[in-house]
């Protein structure tokens, strides 16, 4: 066991059982999977991406590149989970990934032997012949070898929430700087959110041994957190990663509320995506230690020195009893001291600096370098070259590397900011161009000592308070270490032919960077993309700096001149489920239900999605086995007697005001100024570019009141368009708009018996006779003894027809009443399919024809575009390309054999013409079987179509295997003179 007998922020009284690769182990509350595995003597935790090298834990945080495991199983299987951040729970199961047949004996470790062939970008130079082999042979092999963990493709059983938080100050990171900032701002009454990715707030204070005042760092942190928790103006978010800094102070955050539990409680989410709206933010994200590249520096047991210290201090575990530290800075010595204090055997401090300080209890090898390591599945020894050139071997089980610390600038650079190089700390600091409202404090700002971190956090909060016009008081901060960390940059051990790792996960070595330089890939972005440096799941948090430094050395430029690649969100990877929230499955988008929905369900209707709406598509009757039987019956019944269809989904806009008529006259291309009260007119709306936008009717209920209908699909866009015209184009017209789509349940009552049916429910004082209420009449009436209603005599089917609207709450009652009253006429409900058939039979354009590419002229309505007035779209509709005499025209098609199907989407060619684009004459937009004509019919756009009535063409659909001879006919298959609808 590698658990130290005392110490650590773990609950030794409780034991958690867990398994890794099927082997059971024990751990404690407070452990991560990584600390628990180390405690059980497990150093080997994964395999690298490319060479499948054995790997152990490198870090103690979210920057971990190596120790990635597949957590849980079934639908909860979660690939690429960092063992370093996975909080242990009882029953946790994890397996290793990217290894076959086992972690210890991985067949693809052969890649390691072949590494000399698998250099940076090798794949760009080969696998080109023969061309067809790429998809068939090379690529499948590469794909199988690549990737890391796997998903099951089972639906994720957990749910995710989204939420919105608002604050004066968001503090990112609850280490010393963040806690000091929170305390300062919190005590002054500011609304503060303090977020930390860890499950225990305190940051490095939990990992260090030095005291704050009289307390240990961890105790001080706990006390402050307790005080903060008691303030109502402070919100503490543990287990919460700020994933990105977006415009104007908006931050994305993911709170992992149940990842430390076996599974979320019923109804509760696994994670919550918070969108945080902040007036100010302080980034206190600390710093990340960087490795030193030397030959075979990737073995299990070699880790960051700070991480080694963290494991010992926070979790009371060590990977081995005998350890060493390889450093270029004073912080490495702190690790050695902490390890010594816990009774570990520190074989040496190998310090690259000639002027390395001494260390009590450990041998310091100044000016020395670690030049190699040994141990196949775990570190056994390292080879050290001393300042005098002598080499000798140290037997040990763990090595801590410290190449210095990089301030964690990621979030400061999510917008335009470029970090700036600082020679003193040999690292990049946040640049000047920070996200709006952001300050940086603590180690993230290069303030590495605890004292400096505390002070800078408090200062940042004071600045925020002063910007808010609040007065704050800097809290009494405890005395803490204020040491200066000297560093002499040292990036990689030279003079070796062996591979020295920079990017552990993606297996990018110093040699790869050298090759990229040799081949001209010298800009940082080229370097990254060519070698894949920093493109792994850790986004190069430990890797990028070393790669840049090696490239800078090769080009002879400074690191500042070399620059960095872009920091992009998310800070650490985010589960897709959290980003989607509750909008999944059937809840992806809300439903809109029609007023007759409940009734239609009772009738056994088949429903179809129309935008957000669910509409009845048809109403199957007993004995009907095929949808066509139902639809044909509904059409025949409507045309022979009467049918009823819920048409509530059509957009309805009440247009009111003194200038309503003049307004509509500019919105529609045809005239509306002179429409009489009590009358309806068909209107065609153009976009300003002259293309048809939408069509519908406008009914004039009063001088200053119209009801406009839009197509179901365009209701929102038309409303927006009309508001644009009203507010931006003609701001002094007296026009008010309001959508009333939801307020009225509207039914089409169509067929020769529609009047007779309506007369049974419309209150008797209203005259529905042809004279009293002629075609295109409208009026406000009452039904069923006084229920207010609107009646329109309009027809989409081509039959004598009405649309009747009642307040939505009565829609259900009205459809039931219509069905009951219509019993004697055999009234038939019809769905969208029959509606579609009847409109094709009548030759009305709908969505397939009004597709945003067609003009009034194409639609056969060219003459509607008035040149007597200025209406939207009229001018540009007159462009030559849109006025082509031989252009597309809407026509009808009858197959020569009535039972030959015509396919919507078929293209039109001369009979006998070869199936080539050059012979393309147009296309079929809508097609159906017409039970009225006992034939398939279609409408579509044909070049010069109006001059080709009677011609025979090919309607070819090679895609579906249809090729039908059709005769060009008028699109008005039924009652072209309109006698029925005027009856």
């Amino acid at each position: 066991m590698n658990r130290l007998s005392t110490g650590g922020q773990i609950d030794r009284a409780k034991t958690f059982r867990f398994t890794f690769d099927g082997v059971p182990y024990d751990g404690h509350p407070g452990d991560t999977l990584a600390s628990a595995l180390l405690a059980n003597g497990v150093r080997l935790m994964g395999r690298s991406f490319k060479y499948h090298r054995p790997r152990g834990v490198l870090t103690a945080g979210s920057e971990e590149p190596n120790a990635l495991v597949q957590l849980r199983n079934g639908g909860r299987q979660e690939p690429n989970t960092r063992a370093t951040t996975a909080e242990l729970f009882n029953g946790l199961t994890a397996v290793s990934q990217n290894a076959w047949p086992s972690l210890k004996f991985d067949a693809l470790a052969i890649n390691d032997r072949l590494s000399n062939f698998l250099t940076a970008g090798f794949y760009y130079k080969t696998f080109m012949w023969p061309a067809a082999f790429w998809e068939k042979l090379y690529e499948p092999i590469i794909r199988r070898a690549a990737g890391l963990g796997s998903i099951t493709t089972e639906p994720d059983p957990d749910s995710y929430d989204k939420g919105f938080l608002h604050c004066d100050l968001l503090i990112i990171g609850a280490g010393p700087a963040g806690l000091a900032a929170a305390l300062t701002a919190g005590r002054a009454g500011a609304r503060v959110i303090l977020a930390d990715e860890d499950f225990r707030m305190g940051g490095r204070l939990n990992a260090e041994t030095h005291a704050l005042g009289e307390q240990s760092g961890a105790d001080w942190a706990a006390a402050i957190v307790a005080e903060l928790a008691s303030m109502p103006n402070i919100r503490l978010l543990t287990r919460t990663t700020i994933l990105g800094a977006f415009d104007h102070g908006i931050y994305g955050a993911v709170e992992r509320v149940a990842d430390h539990l076996p599974e979320p409680a019923p109804g509760k989410p696994r994670q919550i995506l918070w969108r945080i709206y902040s007036k100010a933010a302080v980034l206190c994200a600390g710093a990340i230690e960087r490795p030193i590249a030397f030959a075979n520096n990737d073995r299990p047991g070699i880790m960051m020195a700070g991480a080694l210290r963290t494991y010992v201090n926070r979790w009371a575990v060590t990977p081995a009893q005998t350890v060493a530290v390889f450093t270029n800075n004073d912080d490495g010595h702190r690790t050695a001291r902490d390890l010594l204090a816990r009774g570990l055997d520190v074989a040496a401090i190998i310090d690259t600096r000639a002027d390395a300080p001494a260390c009590d209890g450990a041998q310091v090898m100044a000016g020395a370098q670690v030049i190699d390591s040994a141990g196949r599945l775990g570190l056994k020894s390292v080879t050290v070259r001393q300042a005098d050139g002598r080499e000798h071997q140290l037997k040990l089980g763990a090595l801590g590397m410290s190449g210095g610390w990089n301030p964690n600038v990621a979030l400061s650079s999510h917008q335009r900011g470029r970090p700036q190089w600082n020679d003193e700390i040999a690292a990049f600091l946040p640049g000047a161009d920070l996200p709006q409202g952001m300050q940086v404090a603590g180690a993230a700002a290069g303030r590495f000592s605890t004292q400096a971190a505390l002070a800078s956090g408090a200062d940042a909060a004071m600045q925020v308070l002063s910007d808010m016009g609040k007065t704050g008081h800097a809290p009494d901060l405890p005395m803490a270490e204020d040491g200066k960390t000297r560093i002499t940059p040292f990036w990689h051990v030279g003079g070796t032919k062996a591979r020295a790792w920079l990017d552990f996960q993606n297996d990018v070595t110093v040699k790869d960077v050298t090759l990229a330089h040799q081949e001209g890939f010298r800009s940082v972005e080229h370097l990254k993309r060519y070698t894949t440096l920093g493109m792994a799941t850790d986004q190069g948090k430990t890797a990028n700096m070393g790669g840049l430094a090696v490239m800078a050395e090769l080009t002879g430029q400074s690191i500042a001149q070399t620059g960095t690649t872009m920091f992009r969100p998310p800070y650490t990877p985010v589960a897709m489920g959290a980003l989607a929230g509750r909008s999944v499955g059937r809840d992806f988008r809300p439903f809109r239900l029609t007023p007759s929905h409940k009734w239609a369900v009772e009738q056994g209707a088949t429903f179809v999605e129309v935008g957000m709406w669910l509409r009845a598509q048809w109403f199957p009757q007993p004995g009907e086995s095929d949808w066509r039987q139902s639809v044909d019956r509904e059409v025949r019944a409507t045309r022979s007697s009467v049918g009823v269809c819920d048409v509530t989904t059509l957009g309805k806009i009440d247009v009111q005001g003194r200038d309503a008529a003049a307004f509509l006259n500019r919105i529609y291309c045809n005239g509306f100024a002179k429409l009489a009260v009590g009358r309806v007119r068909y209107g065609l709306m153009l976009r300003e570019d002259g293309i048809a936008m939408d069509d519908g009717t406008a009914a004039r209920l009063a001088d200053d009141h119209f009801v406009v209908t839009t197509t179901t699909a365009n209701a929102v866009a038309v409303f927006r368009h009309m508001e644009f015209a009203r507010q931006c184009l003609w701001p002094d017209m007296d026009v008010q708009l309001i959508s009333t789509t939801e307020a009225w349940a509207q039914f089409a009552v169509a067929g020769p018996n529609s009047r007779a049916l309506l007369q049974k429910i419309v209150d008797p004082e209203f005259d529905l006779s042809n004279d009293g209420f002629p075609f295109m009449a409208c009026g406000e009436i009452t039904v069923c003894g006084g229920c207010p209603a609107r009646l329109f005599r309009i027809s989409f089917s081509g039959e004598l027809a009405f649309e009747i609207a009642v307040p939505t709450r009565y829609g259900d009652a009205l459809i039931r009443r219509l069905m009951a009253a219509g019993h004697e006429f055999g009234v038939t409900p019809y769905g969208t399919e029959a509606l579609g058939v009847m409109r094709i039979e009548k030759g009305h354009a709908a969505g397939n024809e009004l597709n945003g590419q067609t003009t009034a002229l194409n639609l056969g309505m060219g003459r509607m575009v008035s040149d007597k007035k200025d209406s939207i779209g009229a001018v540009l509709s007159r462009r030559e390309g849109l006025q082509d005499e031989k252009g597309l025209r809407l026509v009808g098609f009858m197959p020569r054999n009535p039972q030959d199907r015509v396919i919507a989407g078929a293209h039109l060619l001369e009979t006998g013409a070869e199936l080539r684009a050059a012979n393309d004459l147009g296309y079929v937009t809508s097609a159906c079987y017409s039970p009225t004509l006992n034939s398939y019919i279609a409408i579509g756009f044909l070049k010069a179509g109006d001059a080709r009535l009677g011609d025979v063409l090919r309607a070819a659909s090679p895609l579906t295997g249809h090729d039908t001879e059709v005769t060009v006919v008028s699109p008005h298959f039924i009652d072209p003179e309109g006698e029925r609808l005027r009856a």
Binding site: I151, T153, D156, T537, G581, G905, Y923, V924
Partner: protein, 416 residues
């Protein structure tokens, strides 16, 4: 230097000492016959084809930063020719054919992977529209296949078939569609152009055009004036900024399009899929990351980054289509600046200024167009006549009312 497995073997055994830079780093000459502004995919392809296919000499590509740093280096790597309109389809099919022979032509493995693209169908109207499209593709000599819901299910059993808000009713497949390793396209063309004598000049920003008597004589740059017989501008994303130097306003707006990649996963997604009822399209890269995207953010932007609402919208689309994605982690998001044109289609044309040529307005379609765009722009520059497959991509189509509007959205760029 020729790349091959043999060469790789030889270098591996001799310490990789022999590899030479993929392209030179020359100083600009005072004058070139043809200067291409923009070292992105389109500019580099133009230079390559000018030198290799149109036998032009004395060519330079001028790039303000590093080559391949624009949209060719920040896209979702999809190639396809499943376009609807006659103005587009022949061009994109030409492009797809060029992709098919690209690696052998360039001697550079750009990992052209014809794994197929599938556009899902969720409504009858969509099926009608895709039928029209698929038939058009076939008429133009491209491949298209209409799949039933059952066929889609056989190929992608893990999509949401049983609990979907917008059920999958089928799909339009193009088997020859797929993906290409995007950076390698820029590098391959750059290396090819360099091999044929093209000067690729990086870190050289164009600050103006020298125009006298209605003719363009060259470009002013951060490294001095460079004279040119002809200047071709291929800087999609920044077209308006550059062409403003020539006093032109374009039928183009710049918008940000975000794209995303997940952590690496073992193979799960065989081809490219496009959700038809939300904003989401996805493929899996050879490294294992799921590469996906959605809609543009929708506001004018040159910032190369976007905002959360679109990210959430894309994730919702992804989860709605593929419920197993929940525990897949999004690794990185980025933004590219799109030249969104007024009809959603590009422009490859002369300008009213003699000697100044323009290539831009690619909207989302730029990456897949790279080879044909380069070829057709080279054709225009070399012959002063439009290539037959790009004949519709003229400036004057808006004045004349001959828009090529695939989506039917009209003169509102953010809707294309």
């Amino acid at each position: 230097m020729r790349y091959s497995a043999f060469r790789l073997l030889k270098e591996a055994l001799s310490g990789h000492k022999g590899w030479t830079p993929a392209w030179r780093n020359p100083a600009p000459k005072p004058h070139y016959d043809i200067v291409i502004v923009g070292g992105g995919g389109h500019g580099l392809a133009t230079a390559y084809y000018l030198a290799r296919k149109f036998r032009q000499h004395n060519i330079a590509v001028i790039e303000k930063g590093w080559i391949g740093g624009g949209n060719v280096g920040r896209n979702t790597t999809i190639i396809r020719s499943n376009y609807l309109l006659d103005g587009n389809e022949p061009f994109y099919e030409f492009s797809l054919k060029l992709w098919e022979g690209l690696e052998q032509d360039l001697n550079y493995n750009a990992m052209v992977s014809q794994r197929g693209i599938l556009n899902l169908i969720h409504t009858d109207a969509q099926r009608d529209a895709f039928t029209r499209r698929g038939n058009g593709m076939i008429l133009h000599g491209a491949d298209a296949e209409l799949l039933s819901a059952e066929q889609v299910r056989r190929e992608y059993p893990f999509l949401n078939f049983d609990n979907a808000r917008f059920p999958i009713k089928g799909g339009l497949a193009q088997r020859r569609g797929g993906t290409v390793r995007h950076d390698a396209v820029a590098w391959g063309y750059a290396r090819g152009a360099d091999t044929h004598g093209v000067d690729i000049i990086q870190n050289c920003e164009v600050t103006g055009f020298r125009i006298e008597n209605g003719a363009c004589l060259g470009v002013e740059t951060s490294r001095g004036f460079i004279g040119a017989g002809k200047v071709g501008v291929a800087v999609a994303g920044n077209s308006s900024r550059i062409m403003a130097h020539a006093g032109m306003r374009l039928p183009i707006e710049s918008h940000v399009l975000q794209a995303f990649v997940s952590e690496g996963l073992k193979p799960v997604l065989p081809g490219v899929i496009t959700f038809g009822a939300g904003h989401f399209y996805c493929s899996q890269s050879d490294k294992g990351g799921l590469v996906f995207g959605g809609d543009i953010d929708g506001y004018n932007s040159y910032a190369q980054r976007g905002n959360l609402p679109v990210i959430e919208d894309v994730a919702e689309g992804g989860m709605a289509l593929f419920p197993g994605l929940g525990r897949v982690r999004l690794l990185r998001m980025w933004g590219g600046i799109m030249d969104m044109s007024m009809d959603g289609s590009p422009i490859i044309d002369r300008t009213h200024i003699q000697g100044l040529y323009f290539n831009g307005g690619w909207c989302y379609g730029g990456f897949k167009a790279t080879p044909a765009s380069g070829w057709c722009f080279a054709h225009l520059l070399a012959t002063d006549a439009p290539h037959p497959t790009a004949a519709a991509y003229r400036f004057d189509r808006f004045r004349k009312g001959r828009m090529i509007d695939e989506k039917g959205m009209g003169a509102q760029p953010n809707l294309h």
